[in-house]
């Protein structure tokens, strides 16, 4: 890790230091997979949320957008148009995952995220914001050619992974820090009594979010208070652990435990868990992706010889 003074002297060193293109590819593939799952889960409700005949009034959405409305659904709000946009987006996400025309696909995926969030601000959830931010960061990142479907089909003949600028990864990592620390700081600067006295999780477990709400929650108040405090500590610690090379796996483990824990006790927050775990791929290092590739190759050869 360079020192802060070195960062200040030379931001170019920070942003342009070479990095393994396979890390970007890992982010691209996992991001596209989660965004595609989000789209597939939205598909049955597309007319409810995005068409002019649905729940969300277009004029109200336009009036709500500040400083102005930016959405492809503003061009046409018919049921056929909504279906077409989502179909094209699904295709773009598959292309992004495969690394074919990845820059154009990433651009469309950003347009999709901006568009549906502007058109339907009412049903949005936390994972939409995460995917929205990463869709921009994926677009401005090096795409690479090594972990793509065409390269895979050719068996990576004559190819070795490229060394590319790491600016996209730096911004992605910073985005993850913002995500956690903004939440932590919001509770410090605007103290909430329920986070402070440890009752937050008890109320959460009795709310509509909870998978098993019931009187049983009232009997575990002390335990849930400890978990409430532990969640706040984890949110503060996860970005630090992820950023430091030696502790990044501990950070990933702690974050995974936190988000899978939320996913287990909460109903219908699975996509938030997946979106957050997706962001951790930006903290991978050269040795991680090289090791993963070697492991897959060994398994592949073993499978082929058997």
């Amino acid at each position: 890790m360079p020192t802060i003074s070195r960062w200040l002297r030379s931001p170019a060193d920070l942003f342009f230091k070479p990095e393994d293109e396979r890390i970007y590819a890992a982010v691209r593939i996992v991001f596209a997979a989660v965004a595609l799952l989000n789209l597939l889960l939205l598909w049955p409700d597309r007319q409810v949320f995005f068409s002019n005949g649905g729940l969300v009034d277009l004029d109200a959405a336009m009036g709500d957008a500040k400083p102005f409305y930016l959405s492809i659904f503003g061009l046409h709000g018919s049921e056929a148009a909504v279906t077409s946009v989502m179909f094209v987006t699904a295709f773009a996400l598959v292309m992004l995952m495969a690394g074919i025309g990845a820059r154009l696909a990433a651009f469309w995926v950003l347009v999709w995220h901006i568009s549906y969030m502007a058109r339907a601000p009412l049903p949005l959830a936390g994972w939409d914001l995460v995917l929205r931010c990463f869709s921009f960061l994926v677009l401005i990142s090096p795409m690479g050619k090594y972990w793509t479907l065409p390269a895979l089909i050719r068996g990576h003949a004559g190819m070795i992974p490229a060394s590319v600028s790491r600016h996209g990864l730096i911004l992605m990592r910073l985005q993850v820090v913002v995500l956690y620390w903004h939440a932590v700081l919001a509770r410090i600067l605007n103290p909430d009594p329920y986070w402070g006295n440890g009752e937050f999780l008890s109320y959460f477990m009795l709310s509509h979010h909870a998978r098993w709400p019931g009187r049983w929650v009232l009997e575990y108040g002390s335990f849930l208070a400890v978990v409430t405090y532990a969640i706040q500590l984890a949110e503060a610690a996860i970005p630090v652990l992820l950023l430091v090379k030696k502790t990044r796996w501990w950070g990933a483990l702690l974050g995974t435990a936190l988000h899978i824990g939320i996913c287990l006790v909460a109903r219908d927050l699975g996509l938030f868990c997946l979106a957050m775990l997706m962001t951790y791929t930006a903290f991978l290092r050269h040795e991680d992706v090289a090791g993963a590739e070697q492991w897959v190759r060994r398994r592949w050869r073993r499978g082929a010889s058997a």
Binding site: L55, V56, P161, V178, Y180
Partner: protein, 200 residues
């Protein structure tokens, strides 16, 4: 970076798509660097949440950047407790003979709210009907359903419609531990013929 084996090596690839900054022309690199510094500063600035009362519009340029590129960066999810134990929404109609009809609230087609509650439907209806900052959405929804209900029902029946929102609020833990239910029902209704005037 070590270059010990093909699996473990990295090429100093200068292909345009590989994200390498061409040494021949420094301007793309300079522009990219300026942009990265700006976006990093934008993100660092976003770590500090705005005070709750500061819901006034921000600077138009920054707002445009948030919408088009940077994202809204509002990460204070679950800033306080979720207060609702459950939410139910329906239209109740009464005709001239006093007969009651119930119609589901999801447009298009007046479909029922999915059960168990999905996060998206819960968010949509909570914000549509109960949030103070989204009143234009509620008014537009109520204006829209009036003619739709009239079109799909018998126009001679003379039905009058009310949107009923049943909210179960989680009771204070102290009181719940002393007995009684864990939530209390609070109903709110909106007159469809005069959607702007809600009747709690």
């Amino acid at each position: 970076m070590r270059s010990t084996s093909p699996d473990d090596s990295l090429a100093q690839d200068s292909a345009p798509d590989a994200g390498r900054v061409s040494p021949g022309n420094p301007w793309p690199a300079r522009l990219l660097l300026v942009f990265c510094c700006w976006h990093a500063a934008f993100l660092i600035y976003s770590i500090i949440p705005a005070p709750p009362a500061q819901n006034k519009p921000g600077h138009p340029v920054l707002d445009f950047y948030r919408i088009a590129l940077g994202g809204r960066q509002q990460w204070n999810m679950f800033e306080t407790i979720p207060v609702l134990h459950s939410l139910d929404v329906r239209f109740e109609g009464v005709d001239r003979q006093g007969r009651e009809t119930i119609v589901d609230p999801v447009l298009p087609g007046f479909k029922p709210l999915p059960r168990p509650e999905s996060a998206r439907y819960y968010n949509a209806f909570y914000r549509l009907l109960l949030a103070a900052e989204t009143v234009p959405f509620r008014d537009a929804y109520l204006r829209k359903v009036g003619p739709l209900l009239a079109a799909q029902r018998d126009p001679t029946a003379g039905e009058t419609w009310t949107l009923v929102v049943n909210q179960e609020y989680t009771r204070n833990l102290f009181h719940s531990r002393r007995g009684g239910p864990i939530s209390v029902l609070v109903s709110k209704s909106f007159d469809i013929s005069t959607p702007d005037g809600d009747t709690p």
